[in-house]
């Protein structure tokens, strides 16, 4: 099918985009990489009357190293982020996640901001951003506001971005040396995850776990943090057996998705398995980064 007709604008500044959004209200929609929106237009799941293209706004793209924090412009392409030596060094979990997002041609166009704004429950970037406690910068007519990622994601395809607002950048604090890992199960590499796990772990001098983080994605409308698991690891020497015990603390009641393709029972089965693998890999990588 072909998209229904719409008008198209390609502003060159954030201000220009905000004015267009203000003028057209709920008739307007922004387009970033188009890798999710254009299929929705083609299937007529979305029928905006006006498209505001963010691709010609240079200030929205790019990755900035601000010392203790890294600022990722919303229009930074997924392929560009994946190839960035700065991100690979400082925020490697983002690359591990992005490697699972679609394929080279979709990553060449698809953006980081579009991926988190689209808020697909099975998407990888929201889980990574939750694992990093990222902050989302939103610009609107009356100024900008910064929202914690946990308050940004509200549900399936639902964020706190209000009418007339755009996501301009994502801010992440650079963590001290740690190990990270992203593991998912999908039918084919690049397909959406049936379940995914993102893990971070820092070790202290004796090699015991100093702090950790675990996020499971694709099992509920938003990615979920499981602090009970990571609390149980903190201060302990990590072993395969300890990880097995710790992941048994995952509250499986919080898993919600149940459909004919991937049942809730199956998700509850693989969630802890993926979590254990991600934590084990994060632990091993933490060891490598320390030595």
């Amino acid at each position: 099918m072909k998209p229904a007709p719409f008008d198209y604008h390609a502003p060159e500044t954030i201000q220009g985009a905000l004015e267009l959004l203000d003028r057209h209200g709920s008739d307007a929609r922004v387009i970033a990489g188009g890798q999710s929106l254009v299929p929705m237009l083609a299937l007529r799941l979305a029928r905006p009357e006006v498209l505001v293209d963010l691709n010609r706004i240079p200030e929205l793209a790019g990755i900035r190293d601000c010392g203790g924090t890294i600022r990722i412009g919303a229009m930074t392409r997924q392929a560009h982020a994946l190839a960035s030596p700065l991100l690979r060094d400082r925020l490697p979990l983002l690359g591990y996640g992005l490697y699972n997002v679609g394929h080279p041609p979709t990553r060449a166009r698809g953006t980081i901001g579009g991926s988190v704004s689209h808020a697909d429950p099975a998407a990888e970037t929201p889980a990574v951003m939750l694992a990093y406690d990222a902050r989302m910068v939103l610009a609107g007519k009356s100024g900008t506001r910064t929202v914690d990622v946990a308050d940004f994601m509200l549900g399936t395809f639902e964020t706190c971005i209000e009418e007339g607002e755009i996501l301009t950048e994502i801010v992440v604090d650079v963590p001290p040396a740690e190990g990270t890992a992203f593991v998912e199960l999908s039918r084919r590499k690049g397909d959406f995850a049936m379940a995914s796990a993102a893990a971070r772990m820092r070790l202290n001098e004796d090699g015991a776990c100093a702090s950790a983080r675990l996020v499971i994605g694709a099992v509920a409308p938003v990615p979920l943090r499981f602090d009970a698991v990571t609390d149980a690891l903190t201060g302990q020497v990590v072993t395969e057996g300890l990880l097995r015990e710790a992941v048994s603390l995952i509250d499986l009641e919080r898993f919600e998705f149940d459909n004919p393709d991937i049942s809730l029972a199956y998700r509850r089965h693989i969630g802890p398995v993926l979590a254990r693998r991600a934590l084990m890999q994060a632990f091993e990588r933490a060891g490598e980064r320390r030595s």
């Binding site: 072909k2 229904a4 007709p5 719409f6 060449a108 590499k189």
Partner: protein, 162 residues
């Protein structure tokens, strides 16, 4: 609905187009410019048959609006093929049973062309990654892998001989 006038480069030639905003780049290439080598399978991003190169990167022709290509440099399968005969990739696809119906072939040729022009000595994993977004319903991919490997092997040979 306002029409838009565009200037872009397609296979090295400047072209002007007048498009409706909802028209995809793949439709403009096929319908208006007659470059029907770019195939449309699913028209929503899944199959990869429409893959072209835009400003040096592979992209889904069905997920880009033509109006977004203002000023862009676009290369289609016609642009990576010689005027007569077959390119080394096309020749290898033929020799190694890399196609049957040929529907996915333009997309495959384009992503392999991009891979080989950005990575002179790709590994099997690199090749798999490059074609991972391309669906083929006929050959089962082994023939396509064999074709890509053959082109890489020939190149290694040439590098060694020179």
């Amino acid at each position: 609905m306002k029409m838009h006038d565009l200037e872009l480069s397609v296979n090295g030639q400047s072209v002007s187009l007048r498009v409706e905003p909802r028209q995809t780049l793949a439709d403009a290439l096929r319908g208006t410019l007659g470059l029907t080598g770019t195939h449309l399978g699913c028209e929503h991003g899944v199959c990869g048959a429409c893959t072209i190169i835009v400003d040096g990167e592979p992209a889904r022709g069905c997920l880009m609006l033509a109006v977004q290509a203002q000023g862009a440099e676009v290369i289609t399968v016609e642009g990576v093929s010689p005027p007569t005969g077959l390119s080394p990739i096309q020749q290898a696809m033929r020799e190694h049973h890399g196609l049957q119906c040929g529907f996915c072939t333009p997309g495959m040729v384009v992503v392999l062309h991009h891979l080989l022009s950005t990575n002179p000595d790709p590994t099997d994993d690199d090749i798999r990654e490059a074609i991972s977004g391309q669906l083929c319903r006929c050959t089962g991919y082994q023939g396509i892998m064999a074709a890509a490997r053959a082109v890489v092997a020939r190149r290694r040979h040439e590098i060694r001989d020179n």
